[in-house]
């Protein structure tokens, strides 16, 4: 029997809340966090709808419990806030003898400061303390040092599936016996760098995004961080933590199709979902809900929808994209949506796909339109697909008390 892996803690910050409780409240009230850009001085500021965490740098320092200092990016502060909530919840400070790892994910890294100070980097020494905080490892190492995690520390970047791959690697490291427990997730802050990059690709919606809608018009980028504590059964035996759920399946596949577009038939998405389902040992009909990647682009939603049809056939589970709540938090999306999926298992609810009005003509199904409560939810699938065709799916199962 392969080792079972349980989730025993989580932490999140997003545009709909600074912690788990606030995110849950917003979701239960079907309250979106999307709005205009306020904290980044971009020329696109008045044109975009984004999922921005409504806090400035000083407020984030305060929330992170850190005295404001140079060398911190917005990204690393978001990461620290969410990682610490999960760390406390999963009581990682106890039982230091257990082998503990930190696997984080980011793609823009400390670019939010780098893009402000780049001209100084090139010409003078005034912003030297930010040079080291530009890369992807910086936020991860700041979290590792703050929380004292050192047995295994790494950073993954597979664009928008990054944090799902963190969770997947965390589960595999525990299953192999290399680690007993892992803090896994990702962080990403909004930057001019990727707002403009996505804008240049012409895939941003100027209005609130409408995933899986016939008239969908693109992405609203978001920001945030989310981390989960993964533990083996043996580890739980020592920590006494209560499992929130089990992560029972994971699958990673590559489209090998195009650097930024999904294949029309969603080969990568299909393979990732199939691998995750097979590994979980569940039949397709056992999946009650899919938290879709559902970015709101023409390309993704059709491709993902077709892959879902191919895998689930006539019995398509309830599907929704929660990106109209949080925006697309790119490298943090995998762990953000993993947590939102787990909240469905815990609260026996299904999150609505906000802003939906008309089914995609090529698809046989529509997403869930309104919040559903008091419904049995025993297994959920969370999809995260990225540029480069890096597709990852995760399956979470409710733990029934024996």
């Amino acid at each position: 029997m392969p080792k079972r892996i349980f989730i025993t803690g989580y932490g999140i910050i997003s545009c709909i809340g600074n912690n788990i409780a606030e995110n849950l409240t917003s979701l239960l009230q079907s309250r979106s966090g999307l709005g205009p850009l306020r904290h980044i001085d971009s020329q696109l500021k008045d044109e975009l709808f984004v999922g921005e965490v409504p806090k400035n740098l000083d407020e984030l320092f305060h929330m992170a419990g850190i005295t404001p200092a140079e060398g911190y990016s917005r990204n690393s502060l978001l990461g620290i806030i969410a990682a610490r909530e999960a760390f406390v919840h999963g009581r990682l400070d106890d039982h230091r003898e257990l082998k503990t790892g930190l696997i984080s994910a980011t793609t823009v890294g400390g670019m939010d400061r780098c893009e402000l100070y780049y001209a100084d980097f090139l010409t003078n020494d005034s912003r030297n303390s930010y040079i080291d905080s530009y890369d992807c490892a910086d936020s991860t190492e700041k979290i590792a040092f703050l929380l004292g995690i050192r047995d295994f520390v790494t950073t993954i970047s597979t664009a928008c599936s990054s944090a799902a791959n963190s969770i997947m690697l965390g589960a595999r490291m525990i299953r192999s016996g290399r680690l007993d427990r892992v803090l896994a997730g990702g962080c990403e802050s909004l930057t001019k760098f990727h707002l403009n990059g996505f804008n240049a690709l012409k895939i941003l919606d100027k209005d609130p995004c409408k995933p899986f809608d016939e008239k969908r018009a693109g992405i609203n980028l978001g920001e945030g961080a989310a981390y989960l504590v993964l533990e083996s059964e043996e580890s739980i035996g020592k920590t006494g933590n209560q499992p929130l759920c089990e992560v029972s399946g994971w699958g990673n596949s590559c489209e090998a199709f195009h650097q930024t577009a999904s294949s029309p038939d969603g080969t990568g998405a299909y393979l990732a979902m199939k691998k995750a389902l097979d590994l979980s040992g569940l039949a397709p009909e056992a999946i009650d809900y899919i938290n879709a990647h559902g970015t709101g682009t023409d390309n993704n939603d059709l491709s993902e929808g077709r892959a879902i049809e191919r895998l689930f056939g006539e019995r398509i589970p309830m599907v929704s994209s929660t990106k109209p709540f949080t925006g697309h938090t790119t490298s943090a999306a995998g762990s953000t949506e993993a947590i939102l999926s787990i909240l469905c298992l815990q609260n026996q609810v299904i999150w609505p796909n906000l802003n939906f009005s008309q089914r995609i003509s090529e698809l046989s199904f529509s997403p869930v339109e309104k919040l559903i409560t008091n419904i049995p939810v025993n297994a959920v699938m969370s999809n995260s697909f990225g540029f480069g065709g890096n597709d990852t799916s995760l399956v979470f199962k409710r733990v029934t008390r024996e």
Partner: protein, 352 residues
């Protein structure tokens, strides 16, 4: 079991398109060591490569060299380690952003995304299998190796393609010189240890390795294990980590025939290697390689190329010697690396 069955390496030395091993050393007196690049049209369709930046071309080419050598058509996983991804593309965007935001060219943005190399290799090989990218400073390649070893253990893969790739640019050198990472002046790579100043000699490289569960004619060596750890002011220390690491394979420090160290000419940080060797491997043969490739986040890729060739060829060229001790036979090589005494790693390579 993870056998190293193919290597493709583009580096500042003549390591690509040759069967020779360090037979002719390229000497430089330079700010940083630049890769000797092959003719890309022999590996990538020129129509496709026209818009590819240098790092992507180097990555795809190194990957193709390694699968050809291993005679592998379809890897079960493609994993890349890169500390910084395409610096050239990132700089282009940052330069543009300081002027006008709106009219950004999307191509550098797409290519600046770290997973572009793994993804482009997958497109070239039409490979739908597992695909990932690690971006953690000097753990980038080591994390990829650990992922690859896991794939083998899980039996979800019998052949894994793993890359170690980073580039340097003049702008990036100038920026990171400000925080003491590099020599402030051009140095001779052949006289690096005589320079005796703070800062390393910067370099770059693109390496891909094929790890296979079976031994073949092209096998160089076996990768036994990889360990990364962050040094904090708490237990356990390097010695405890070393003895656990070796002990997991029923080895002791005395079983190591050669320690291949990441010595890079930095007066501030080379003593960490010297103390490590004095404390745990007194009298043992010690070697280095970063005078040949320069320092970069995934330089242990070059180190693994060296270790693999030493084991396969059972030679020990003088250019690598850090002391006068000579191994009688090479069976176990320990690659030890650290970055500014924070991120430390071991790679244990064994004769196959």
């Amino acid at each position: 079991m993870a056998f190293l069955n193919g290597i493709g390496l583009i580096s500042p030395q003549r390591t690509a398109e040759t069967n020779e091993f360090l037979s002719e050393i390229v000497e430089y007196t330079a700010d940083y060591l630049k890769c000797i690049e092959p003719v890309y049209r022999n590996y990538i369709d020129p129509i496709q490569s026209r818009r590819m930046s240098r790092l992507i071309k180097m990555g795809i080419t190194a990957a193709k060299m390694s699968v050809t050598q291993a005679n592998l058509a379809m890897p079960d996983a493609i994993i890349t380690g890169t500390g910084l991804g395409s610096v050239e593309d990132t700089e282009k965007i940052l330069g543009d952003l300081t002027k006008e935001e709106r009219f950004l060219n999307p191509t550098p943005f797409i290519q600046s995304t770290y997973n572009t190399i793994s993804s482009q290799v997958a497109i070239q090989l039409k490979c739908h299998n597992y695909n990932s990218t690690y971006v953690h400073r000097t753990f980038s390649f080591e994390s990829g190796l650990i992922d690859g070893l896991l794939q083998m253990e899980e039996q979800s893969a019998s052949n894994v393609l793993i890359g170690a790739i980073d580039e340097m640019t003049m702008n990036h050198l100038l920026i990171t010189r400000r925080i003491g990472q590099w020599k402030m002046h051009p140095v001779s790579n052949m006289k690096l240890r005589e320079d005796q100043t703070p800062g390393a000699l910067a370099g770059e490289g693109a390496a891909f390795f094929v790890l296979g569960s079976g031994k073949s004619e092209s096998t160089y060596a076996e990768i036994k294990d990889v360990k990364t750890w962050i040094r904090m002011n708490c237990e356990p220390d390097a010695g405890t980590i070393l003895s656990h690491f070796l002990g997991n394979h029923d080895l002791k420090a005395t079983d190591i025939d050669l320690v291949l160290m990441g010595t890079n000419g930095d007066l501030n940080y080379d003593p960490v290697y010297e103390q490590f060797a004095d404390q745990f491997f007194p009298g043992k043969p010690l070697a280095w390689y970063k005078h040949l490739c320069g320092e970069y986040h995934t330089a242990t890729g070059f180190g693994l190329y060296i270790a693999a060739n030493l084991l396969k060829r059972q030679t020990y060229p003088e250019i690598l010697h850090l002391n006068h001790a000579a191994p009688s036979r090479l069976k176990n090589i320990l690659i030890y690396n650290h970055f500014r005494n924070v991120d430390h790693s071991f790679i244990l390579v064994q004769e196959a």
